[in-house]
């Protein structure tokens, strides 16, 4: 057992911090909550890529660095601590790259991974549909073979980063006759494809958070099929394990934590027993969650997909983020409701934003209920019938 980081890991963390502090000092961006999924900054992504920090764990031959999963958690932990605008590359780096690595052909790996790692190809996800949320296997978007092509028709929804994405990782039904889990396939679709259109959707904070994506006879060449035809559902489960695995589930609104502690100190509230108690409890919960997420990274380091382990860490962590946002609102009192561009808004309106925005954390990438089902059935062996 060893709960420490190696000297190299500590150095790496410091290097990431120095880079991010320098970026802030130069005024390139301001720390923000949810910047990992809402902060679109191609320049930042390019600068991160130049340091080799996208695709950190991927093999070198595909543009990665062959580094450990612990290193990647260190990197993302610091990005989140500083509220850095990493949305352009986050999905490609976190999960689509990994999916291509695990299931994609050599051709696909060569075509996409180096470009993701260079910060030149951004990905969005096409999983959910209006009628297929938690029950993803019921998805209806169809792909029909036509010579060397597949023709896709249907609609995807809740696609993050869609207005910036160059590509979508899309799951579609390729065999409507097969049992529903066995008729789904995964494709990479160019966002500029003729017949593909999108409508932006604002989240509860008023931020453009998602898009509906419409496929009207979108033609995709066969070589963009990822993995085996009709095995897409099993591939998406694997990908979702990674989608849930990371530190962004715990630290998505971390800037509000530090800002609130500072606010309490500045306003001489730190001797109030209720406030001390509240913040200490959050600190405890935060550090416990951090251990759950490092455990997930250790599972990946062993070469296993983090299944119920990441279900556990995500369900735990998003509940923490919601409590953090609520606590910040309580501590700020009536000022908490002031949004960023209002007169008198404290903490640049981060609390109000996060209080509202955090409602979605326990829904995306598997609701907490679905995650607990996974933990109970696959982790504890309880049967669902």
């Amino acid at each position: 057992m060893d709960f420490s980081f190696t000297e190299e890991q500590n150095k790496f963390r410091q290097k990431v911090r120095n880079f991010l502090e320098e970026e802030i000092k130069k005024g390139y961006w301001e720390p923000a909550c949810d910047a990992w999924v809402q902060g679109f900054d191609p320049g930042f992504t390019k600068r991160v890529a130049q340091r080799g920090w996208i695709g950190l764990t991927w093999p070198k031959e595909y543009g990665g660095q062959g580094r450990s999963h612990i290193d990647r958690v260190i990197l993302t932990e610091e990005m989140l601590r500083y509220g850095a605008p990493a949305a352009c590359h986050w999905f490609g780096d976190r999960q689509v790259g990994g999916a291509i690595l695990s299931f994609g052909s050599e051709e696909l790996k060569k075509e996409f991974l180096p470009r993701v790692a260079k910060g030149e190809a951004y990905f969005g996800l096409g999983m959910s549909e209006p009628g297929a949320g938690s029950d993803l296997a019921s998805l209806q978007t169809r792909a029909v073979e036509d010579g060397d092509y597949y023709v896709i028709n249907g609609q995807k929804t809740w696609t993050s980063c869609a207005s910036f994405a160059h590509y979508f990782d899309v799951y579609v039904r390729t065999d409507p006759e097969a049992p529903r889990h066995r008729g789904i396939s995964e494709f990479i679709v160019d966002a500029q494809s003729p017949g593909l259109s999108r409508i932006p959707m604002n989240d509860i904070t008023g931020t453009e958070a998602w898009n509906d994506i419409f496929f009207d006879n979108v033609r995709v060449h066969k070589r963009y099929l990822v993995g085996e035809k009709n095995r897409g559902f099993y591939q998406v489960l694997h990908q979702l394990d990674y989608e849930r695995s990371g530190m962004e589930r715990l630290m998505g609104n971390y800037p509000i934590f530090e800002a609130t502690i500072q606010f309490v100190k500045d306003n001489k509230l730190s001797q109030e027993p209720v406030i001390r108690n509240k913040l200490a409890q959050l600190q405890i919960e935060f550090e416990v969650g951090r251990l759950l997420i490092y455990r997930v990274a250790l599972v990946m380091e062993e070469g296993r997909a983090p299944n119920w382990e990441s279900a556990m860490s995500k369900a735990y962590s998003t509940a923490f983020e919601q409590r953090l946002a609520s606590a910040a609102m309580e501590i700020l009192g009536p000022y908490g409701q002031l949004v960023s561009d209002s007169k008198l808004a404290p903490l640049r309106g981060l609390a109000a934003h996060s209080y509202l925005g955090s409602k979605g954390y326990s829904l995306q990438a598997g609701t907490s209920e679905i995650l607990k089902n996974i933990l109970a059935t696959r982790g504890l062996g309880l049967s669902s019938s």
Binding site: F3, K265, R276, L292, L375, L380
Partner: protein
């Protein structure tokens, strides 16, 4: 970073689990709870022969030269089995402080006997009205008299004092900032010991010192400046209690999941109902998080790293988590779980006792607040 045990630790864990499964049935636990002494001399001796008492002590005293982290593994298994008796008192509250604070002479005198299972030790720290684990609430006095010290006052919730051979007594030797720990003969007639009846039947005692003389040579550590050493004892004890709780709730989770798989209502196992599954998922999350935070603190103690915050996080979190786990276990077990014939009550009682020992969540939240600079 690595969260798993070494091969040796896995072996220790397995040996301990098998041994305790064999020797420490719930029938045995019940017998010990009902007995006056609360432990079996025979089992105690067997544990000594297995090297358990000496595990974390240097070889030169007859110990196994292993670490606090190895001891943590053993404590977890003891928690899992609800092992009754004075192991925790003797090793964590007695032996480790002697190793940390004692003179070479004291170590030579006491540790080999402790390690061989010949002598039982405990710590007399808390007092009536004492709840904060700070120096100012120590009021039992030791006054100087002719080169010796005379101890007067009442200590409370002293585990296993009724069977102990030696007491580490934390006393006030100066009105302001003067705390000293004494190694006192527990069989001295100037000590009156009453076993209190607790929910866990874990033999917590009231210990009244009435003009008890202790030679100066029995001061453990520094005169008047003993408090920081006591804080270290408290930290080790708090983490030790966390280890026991982790063992407790790991077992509770397993019992509960097994029960949910077997128990049928409405013609199906209750574990197939989503609400029961989610309860179990919440329990598993609490168990794993308690385990990681506990082992983080145990590892840091073991490595000699400063870990006030990590100890506080472990004890605050594990205390709360164990209460939640047990509450859900009861809800899932239904009425059978609140009877004496089912095993669950042993765990319910022990986790509550462990929560209350060496600082509860409120206490450690305040420690965390200070560590945060609030």
């Amino acid at each position: 970073m690595k969260f798993n045990l070494t091969e040796e630790q896995e072996m220790l864990k397995k040996t301990a689990r098998d041994f305790l499964a064999d020797k420490c049935s719930k029938t045995f636990v019940k017998q010990m709870e009902e007995s006056e002494t609360g432990y079996s001399r025979e089992l105690w001796q067997e544990m000594a022969e297995l090297g358990w008492m000496g595990l974390a002590f240097p070889e030169k005293y007859g110990g196994g030269d292993m670490s606090f982290l190895d001891l943590a593994v053993l404590l977890e298994e003891m928690g899992r089995a609800c092992l009754p008796g004075p192991f925790f008192s003797t090793v964590v509250l007695g032996g480790l402080p002697i190793l940390d604070l004692g003179s070479e002479e004291q170590k030579q005198e006491y540790l080999p006997k402790l390690i061989r299972g010949e002598k039982i030790f405990t710590l007399a720290l808390t007092e009536p009205g004492y709840h904060n684990y700070d120096a100012s609430s120590v009021t039992v006095e030791a006054t100087r008299d002719d080169g010796n010290y005379v101890i007067n006052g009442t200590k409370l919730f002293v585990p296993d004092a009724h069977i102990a051979d030696y007491l580490l007594c934390v006393a006030r030797t100066k009105r302001k900032n003067g705390i000293t720990t004494f190694l006192a003969d527990a069989k001295n007639p100037r000590i009156k010991c009453t076993v209190l009846k607790t929910i866990a039947d874990d033999k917590l005692c009231e210990v009244v010192f009435d003009q008890m003389t202790v030679p100066k040579a029995n001061i453990l550590g520094r005169l008047n400046q003993g408090w920081s050493a006591v804080q270290r004892i408290i930290e080790q004890a708090a983490v030790g209690k966390c280890c026991e709780m982790v063992g407790n709730i790991q077992r509770v989770l397993e019992m509960t999941v097994d029960y949910a798989k077997e128990r049928k209502q409405f013609d199906r196992p209750i574990g197939s109902f989503q609400v029961i599954q989610h309860y179990c998922a919440d329990m598993a999350t609490d168990v794993d998080s308690a385990r990681f935070s506990t082992y983080q603190a145990a590892w840091m103690l073991s490595e000699g790293l400063p870990c006030t915050k990590e100890v506080a996080i472990a004890k605050a979190w594990t205390s709360q988590a164990s209460q939640r786990v047990v509450a859900l276990a009861h809800q899932i077990h239904g009425a059978i779980g609140v009877t004496m014939e089912h095993d669950l009550h042993y765990y319910t009682e022990r986790t509550k006792a462990a929560e209350l020992a060496f600082g509860d969540a409120n206490f450690y939240r305040e420690v965390v607040a200070r560590e945060m600079g609030l």
